[in-house]
């Protein structure tokens, strides 16, 4: 099977300082992959690099087409949705408007309507909040809205930056449960950056471990879970 996304020799920069060094990884269609690593290892930057939000060098091939160096708003049109750090919802706008914004690049009115209903199916609480301003939602609800907003693109690839950030433990497992369900139902490929390694490895099929901007370990989630050094550094047992 061909990879949906292939990243080779990826480097990323903030101004003069280089944050990612020669990163290589690939994502299989329909799979969930997670990037693990300590703070500052370059997890968020990896996602931002894929979305064209930082300056990069190297190749990013998505569905056989090179997207490296393209602008963020053009990369979205290839079917890559990004739930950024801090969620990136439009706080002054209603839940409905946020969902419609997620489908901004689509033209199929009926499909958009259907998908909004589908999102309300995944996240019933959002339905009760349809016309409420996103900024008034609780942290968990905003996270759901952020994911729903991204899914409204009908993406082939969903980039998730710390979907569990700031959520109560019960909500965390619930959110990941929904993500898994969405992955199985709509076959959308996911790349998840997580602080909580245990959770991430339970959710994912594959994992990469980043240290100071380099991939140090990679493999299936099972392999990574059983890796001695990962266990000691990231899983804590």
């Amino acid at each position: 099977m061909n990879a949906l996304l292939e990243v080779s020799r990826l480097e990323a920069f903030y101004g003069q300082s280089q944050v990612l060094h020669n990163i290589n990884f690939s994502l299989m269609p329909g799979s969930i992959t997670t990037i693990l690593g300590a703070n500052g290892a370059g997890k968020t930057t990896s996602l931002r690099a894929l979305s064209g939000m930082v300056k990069t060098k190297g190749d990013i091939i998505f569905g056989g087409v090179s997207i490296s160096g393209k602008a963020t708003e053009e990369i979205v049109r290839f079917g890559i949705a990004h739930v950024p750090e801090g969620r990136g919802t439009f706080e002054g706008m209603s839940v409905m408007e946020n969902l419609q914004l997620g489908a901004m690049t689509r033209k199929d009115k009926n499909g958009i309507k259907e998908d909004i209903e589908r999102m309300f199916g995944y996240f019933p609480i959002l339905k009760n909040r349809t016309y409420q301003q996103a900024g008034t939602l609780s942290g968990g609800e905003q996270q759901m809205l952020a994911v729903a907003r991204a899914l409204m693109l009908r993406p082939q690839l969903l980039l998730l930056d710390e979907p569990s950030f700031g959520l109560a433990p019960l909500l965390v497992s619930e959110t990941l449960e929904i993500l898994r369900r969405i992955n199985q139902e709509s076959k959308v490929c996911m790349l998840v950056v997580e602080q909580n390694a245990t959770l991430a490895l339970n959710l994912a099929d594959y994992a990469y471990v980043l240290e100071t901007g380099k991939v140090v370990i990679s493999g299936t989630a099972e392999e990574i879970k059983n890796n001695e050094s990962v266990r000691r550094s990231y899983l804590g047992y």
Partner: protein, 291 residues
Amino acid sequence: MDLFLSQILSGLSSGAIYASLALAIVMIYQAIEHINFAQGEMAMFSTFIAWTLIVNYNVSYWLAFLIVLIVSFFGGILVERIVFAPIHDAPILSHLIVFLGLFAIFNSLAGYIWGHTIKSFPSPFPEASFRGLVGLHQLGTVAFVGFLLLLIYVFFSFTRLGLAMRAAAANPVSAQLTGIRVKWMTALGWGLASALGAVSGMLVAPVVFLDPHMMGGILIYSFAASLLGGVNSPGGAVLGGFIVGVLENLVGTYVEFIGNELKLTFAFILITGVLLFKPNGLFGRTVVTRV
């Protein structure tokens, strides 16, 4: 009583002008977080183009009006693309100076092309008055601007493009992540603001007469209006425009020592007062940044 009513009505009429220019200012402020000091001069320049079409080329009023709206729209986009896009990330002072530069350019260019003598500008409305209270031009201005503001409201609230423009202004980074071409939304905002300014210029010119400096005072009142309503609140700016228009008239009529001469001072007092006591205006949001 008649005097009071007549002052209210003509206040609403100048308020309609302030409201449209204030809304233009707020539209640009929302996109780039700076106040366009040249908004009035751009409007004046548009009005001169309308004057040329009507007087020199015998174009009918409403056709000239339409042409000028279109020309101003694309002119606004051009100004953004050529002048402001390159300095997008420059510090605030650079923006300020460029705005002042634009002010000077449009002002002197108009003087150079059309001269500094005062010209009369036609009104699309009959010259009669409404029950001796207020001119039909004033009444027509209120109705026309009201209709226009309604259109703008519908555009921003109920169309996809309007939603995209609001999203681009509210949160450019997230907007890009939904595929919105933020740079073009900013340019479009400039186009709309410029066209809206042109409307205010063309509607006020029959009253204050046309010359390169005609928008000076109006711009001050419109600043007062946008600050009073809240410079990040479009609805507030519109309401602020009408409030300033009516207040200015009432104060000029009933407060003897102010009269007509000190009316503009009143606008400055209003600006200072708002900035001192309610910096976000009546309807503006307090911008809170979490650290």
